[in-house]
């Protein structure tokens, strides 16, 4: 028992430290651990079989489709329309452009399902615009980076689908509904920080539109926003499964970007398909490898052992949640969100069950927690992209990031302490008991 855990930990940590692709590190560490208790032949066949069966799921198919529709929608024109839309809503307030940035990032993150895409599409437009109005460029980058992660919680969201799979089938519809309030809470608290910051530094208000212009921009944004309505409405209303919703999102995005907005041409399609395959395959190998690891973990009773260990530390659910949050914050600074969710969900689920904490509450908490990690050095994919878009360095962005981190931390604390924040909406919709 102790030997297997030692083999697993040592081999996994060493493999990760030398920059082995995480999916391969997971599979190799799994094989090495299994060799301690079973013949090589059985271990290799089992791991291969788990990789294949881990991918053999209709629910998983939603992921390539949302990735593809994200790429199709991820063109400049849609970003511009969402920015205009946000400008109509909040542009007139002081620090208006910063508020617009937050709302546009949240909307784009939700539609594209990618925080990095939101950072580059919205940031690529908003950061220079804010620079021109005299806003501090490091602050602008910091706002874009943090606001982009709200799209992880605001549905449709691929990471929530991955969590649903890793947790053993928490309803995707319920998770989507659960993400709304926490995601909007983060966006709102970031906007409050922006407002205070703007007052302090005397940043100007954004554009004020006449009524007619306002209506024009609202109407222009409707086709983009309609995608969210169709997908979420269809899933929650029970008209189609998340996978079918994904396919419908792709068709809708195709019609919109090829026919209506004319942002892409037919000849661009093969390349967009290839990019979607690449992004999909990275996630799929991680899912397959994690499936083999979680089989091995339960074969070796590791989650149970871990649960007993945690319960000896404390039997207070709030203490345990805080400890787990601290652990995940550390993990998040080094590891990207998808592998972290796939690796830690099966290990932490039994602890949650023992504490009577709902998987819905836990999932939203974990994803909000790991969102913070996406914007922290040393490893933070969204932060890296944001700094290159904002033409600044990580060191310079950290200072304006601090109050924004604080806002995210407060949201994380609220979401951790009050399960109602995540559970109210799905309960109102009748998606959970």
């Amino acid at each position: 028992m102790d030997l297997t855990i030692a083999i697993l930990l040592v081999s996994f940590v060493v493999l990760l430290a030398i920059n082995t692709p995480i999916a391969i590190a997971i599979a190799v560490a799994t094989v090495l651990t299994m060799l301690a208790t079973m013949p090589a032949d059985a271990a290799l066949t089992t791991v291969a079989q788990r990789i294949a069966s881990g991918l053999d799921s209709f629910a998983l198919l939603a992921i390539p489709f949302f990735i593809l529709s994200g790429y199709l929608m991820g063109q400049g024109g849609i970003a511009r329309r969402l920015i205009n839309f946000a400008m109509v809503l909040v542009g007139r307030f002081s620090g208006g452009l910063a508020l617009v940035n937050v709302i546009a990032c949240a909307l784009f993150g939700s539609i594209s399902g990618s925080a990095v895409a939101a950072t580059s599409a919205i940031g690529g437009f908003m950061i220079p615009a804010m620079n021109k109005e005299g806003y501090d460029k490091n602050f602008n980058t910091a706002v874009t980076v943090t606001a982009s992660t709200t799209g992880m919680l605001i549905p449709p969201s691929n990471i929530l689908i991955i969590y649903s799979l890793a947790s053993g089938g928490v309803s995707i519809a319920a998770l989507f509904m659960a993400g709304y309030i926490p995601g909007l809470l983060v966006a709102l608290s970031l906007m409050i920080v922006c407002g205070i910051y703007a007052k302090k530094h005397n940043f100007p208000a954004g554009l004020k539109y006449s009524f007619a212009e306002g209506v024009h921009h609202l109407v222009a944004a409707i086709p983009s926003l309609l995608l969210i309505v169709i997908v979420i409405g269809g899933i929650i209303g029970g008209y189609f499964t998340p996978t079918e919703a994904g396919a419908i999102a792709v068709i809708y995005a195709l019609v919109l970007s090829l026919g209506v907005y004319r942002e892409i041409a037919l000849k661009d399609l093969p390349n967009i398909l290839l990019k979607s395959v690449q992004t999909t395959a990275i996630v799929m190998l991680l899912i397959g490898a994690s499936a083999s690891m979680s089989w091995m973990l339960s074969y070796e009773f590791i989650p149970q052992t871990f649960t007993e260990l945690v319960l000896t530390l404390s039997d207070n659910p709030i203490m345990i949640l805080i400890l787990i949050n601290i652990m995940l914050l550390v993990v998040g600074t080094f590891m990207d969100m998808t592998p972290a969710v796939l690796i830690f969900t099966p290990i932490l689920m039994p602890v949650m069950a023992a504490m009577d904490i709902s998987p819905l509450h836990f999932g939203i908490m974990m994803i909000l927690n790991l969102s913070i990690g996406l914007c922290t050095p040393p490893v933070g994919s969204v932060l890296f992209v944001g700094c290159s878009i904002g033409k600044t360095s990580i060191g310079a962005v950290v200072k304006p990031l601090l109050p924004l981190y604080a806002a995210m931390f407060i949201c994380l604390l609220l979401v951790t302490l009050f399960p109602q924040i995540s559970e109210t909406l799905p309960r109102m919709m009748g998606l959970i008991e």
Binding site: I18, F58, E244, I282, V379
Partner: protein, 179 residues
């Protein structure tokens, strides 16, 4: 050696076209399923199964392609702080690990699984395809992974030139879109 490298890059090109076709097929297949479910009294039954099998193939073959283009997520912070020589040795060890994974899990384990499925006449529920055909994605992906790992072990890094121009931003951007 030169012939091997040319062969591998041609292989990757062919793989690229295959992946694009498979992804387009997947989209058509599931769209067809949605359409028939709303329009026909009896929805088509094979489309769901075909979609799942396509995903296995796209996931496994695409993963080898993503490996060749260094898109997989990793923790690169320690390697970045190493001296160039140490980093090179470490990277070679990673290629060896990948080769070991490809040969042992994907090729060996995968082939055993394929043979077992053929031996047991294991067939899928709707299309009655032998599951061995589906599982063949494992060893084939393993062979591709192995070729691409050997290519790198011999010091050929496709995409090195672009990596040098924008060291963090570009590769990070592609990687991070997984998020």
């Amino acid at each position: 050696m030169g012939t091997f490298l040319t062969f591998v890059s041609k292989l990757d090109l062919a793989l690229k076209y295959l992946l694009i076709i498979l992804m387009a097929l997947l989209l058509i297949d599931v769209s067809w399923q949605v359409l028939t479910r709303f329009l026909l009294p009896k929805p088509s039954s094979f489309t769901e199964e075909l979609a799942r099998f396509l995903l296995i193939w796209i996931g496994l073959l695409g993963a080898s392609h993503a490996y060749r283009h260094r898109m997989h997520l990793g923790v690169d912070i320690f390697v970045k702080s190493m001296s160039a020589r140490k980093a090179k040795v470490t990277t070679q060890i990673v290629q060896l690990m990948t080769l070991a994974f490809a040969i042992s899990v994907l090729i060996y384990g995968g082939s055993k699984l394929v043979l077992l499925a053929f031996h047991l006449e294991q067939r899928s529920a709707a299309m009655q395809v032998n599951m061995g055909v589906v599982y063949m994605a494992l060893p084939i992906s393993g062979v591709l992974f192995a070729f691409f790992a050997i290519e790198r072990l011999f010091g050929h890094y496709p995409g090195d030139a672009e990596q040098m121009i924008s060291h963090t931003s570009k590769s990070k951007a592609v990687k991070a879109e997984v998020q």
